[in-house]
Symmetry: C2
């Protein structure tokens, strides 16, 4: 993550994972989730927080989930239905449940199918926020599988290249591939130029936007560095056409097709309801998974050993910094903005809960 | 395609597809390919030329294929072997054949598996150049399937973000999804900031490079517009870290993993031999394909109807301009650089062939 997104040191409160996790589980239970789904949903947020993906940890997301449950916009006890199924595929109606636990449910079906037939792909509609694509793709890792995860959005923010009206959400995509000794490859991105939740972080930490990160509401890319404007649209990955925004726009469309249109709910962004696409590749269906994982060790080590360009200390690969951050945060605690701790204090009192890290 | 890549008007020679196609087939036959594979290989190049994808048409590629056959570096009569196979997957040894015909062979296996089981994915190693990823993904369309195609490279050009030594090729990826009445969605990109063959086009048409398109050989992005330097590396899609080059780098790694490492030949770029990953999704395994295609019509029409930003005439989607170009080039002919025609004249004489469009 770029330095500008980090919580400023003066505002940081370090809390240990073991304290935030049960509090987060308690909040989900108080919203009406089953114990199993509360534990699972908290695990998604805590995994993101430990990995340093604070865009999708408790800071940015938990509050909005609580709000949606309270507003009756999300179903705490969904009955997931299989609408169509083949040996390798399924389409699920998520019954309005939160993606944090509906996603793993769907991914596990994909993994079971891949275990039997080599590949598995499951689409979900009528489902709430996924809570970051990476977690769901990573579920494949312990099964010696490659996981893929993507989600469309219930709101439109991304302009197509040359467009003046948004057509997609930030439509994220993640791939996870296992290694043996090295931290796994976990690639998890939004197909907009910057992730949607990064904009919230920019607001919270008072950072500035860089050229070609966002567009004015007439569709023109904002080409000066400066403060976050009140009104803006997201640009596709690449920013401008000259810098390849048609590629980000195209990936956004791919995810709209695979995540939404393929579920049968209607044409992608026009149907305007989040849809998931989750996939698992059984590595042993292609090659020996033991050899694959030791090849991945060599592959990832060689990437990390790439000599750096002037002005840079090292080269990393997707998932490496996140694995290092887990080590660090397990020992030092997770740095939250003090304003997040204030929210926990308020919600603790509102819900009549008792959090160990709140005085 | 950006204007700077087009053949300058003064250098254009228009030739009808019906004339170039048999000449191209003749050249492949003269290289020793079977009639079927010569026709198929020419179809890949002609489809690219008709669609305006001149980076992968006869201009850029045919000469180098001829050279590789003449140098004994490619096998004109490969015996493709299946190394591992499951219901939904296969890994093929391409026996050193050209990807233009080995790719469709592999894609058709993926399509057959998807027809029976819902999904199919086939990897190929020991294979020559794919000739553009789009063609192979598009083979799924007429089967009411979504096609995916990716290939790694036999040479290293792309720097990882912050790196000073190249680790990947241009590692392209394509997705094709059918519609009913609208031209299909065909998204086909390199994961470098600009496609490898675009650099050859820049040379041929004497264009300049834009900032953050390429890097100096020490790994620093070249941030000024100017002429193509003699030595350079490719930057990942995004260009600089601030503009998201870690996303292009990550996609490059995904394609190295799925296209090479997953075939069992060794760790991606370290094994340094091109590998393909071809996949088909049977739409009916997810939802009714008739509804899907009419939903796609609505989806694609809505993208094309997006109001444009100031300074732009229209919004397009991946595959639309290419479909329009096919109409235009079928009626007007394909605009080749006169230097390409000179090459056809030379090769006609060298191989003792007789091309209708050469005086």
């Amino acid at each position: 993550m770029l330095e500008r997104f980090k919580v400023p040191e003066k505002d940081r409160v370090y809390v240990r994972e073991e304290e935030v996790r049960p509090a987060t589980e308690d909040i989900f239970r108080a919203m009406g989730l089953s114990d199993e789904n509360a534990v699972l949903s908290a695990d998604v947020l805590m995994t993101n927080d430990l990995r340093g993906v604070e865009t999708h940890g408790v800071s940015n997301m938990l509050r909005s989930y609580v709000q949606r449950y309270r507003d009756g916009k999300m179903n705490p006890t969904p009955e997931i239905k299989i609408e169509r199924e083949t040996d390798t595929t399924a389409v699920l109606d998520g019954d309005g449940g939160l993606g944090l636990h509906v996603g793993p449910y769907a991914m596990n079906i994909a993994i079971e199918k891949a275990a039997e037939f080599g590949l598995g792909a499951v689409c979900v509609h009528n489902v709430g926020h996924m809570g970051g694509a990476g977690y769901h793709a990573m579920l494949a890792l312990e099964h010696d599988m490659i996981g893929v995860s993507m989600t469309t959005s219930g709101s439109l923010s991304m302009l197509p290249t040359f467009g003046a009206e948004p057509r997609f959400g930030t439509n994220p995509i993640a791939y996870a591939a296992p290694a043996d000794k090295m931290p796994p490859f976990v690639f998890d991105i939004g197909t907009t130029q910057i992730a949607g939740n990064k904009v919230r972080l920019i607001k919270r930490v008072g950072a500035e936007i860089l050229p070609a990160w966002l567009a004015s509401t007439d569709g023109s890319p904002i080409m000066e560095e400066g403060p976050l404007p009140d009104d803006y649209y997201m640009l596709p990955m690449g920013g401008t056409r000259e810098q390849g925004s048609h590629k980000g726009y195209g990936f956004g469309a791919v995810i709209d097709i695979l995540g939404s249109t393929l579920t049968g709910i209607g044409p992608g962004f026009i149907a305007l309801t989040p849809g998931f696409h989750l996939m698992a590749y059984n590595i042993d269906a292609f090659t020996d998974s033991g050899k694959f994982k030791s090849d991945m060790d060599e592959f990832l080590q060689a990437l990390a050993d790439t000599p750096p360009a002037p002005g840079h200390e090292r080269v990393v690969y997707a998932g490496l910094l996140e694995a290092e951050e887990v080590e660090l945060r397990r020992s030092e605690g997770i740095p939250y903005h003090r304003e997040v701790i204030d929210w926990f204090t308020t919600i603790e009192s509102e819900l009549g809960l008792d959090f160990s890290f709140i005085a």
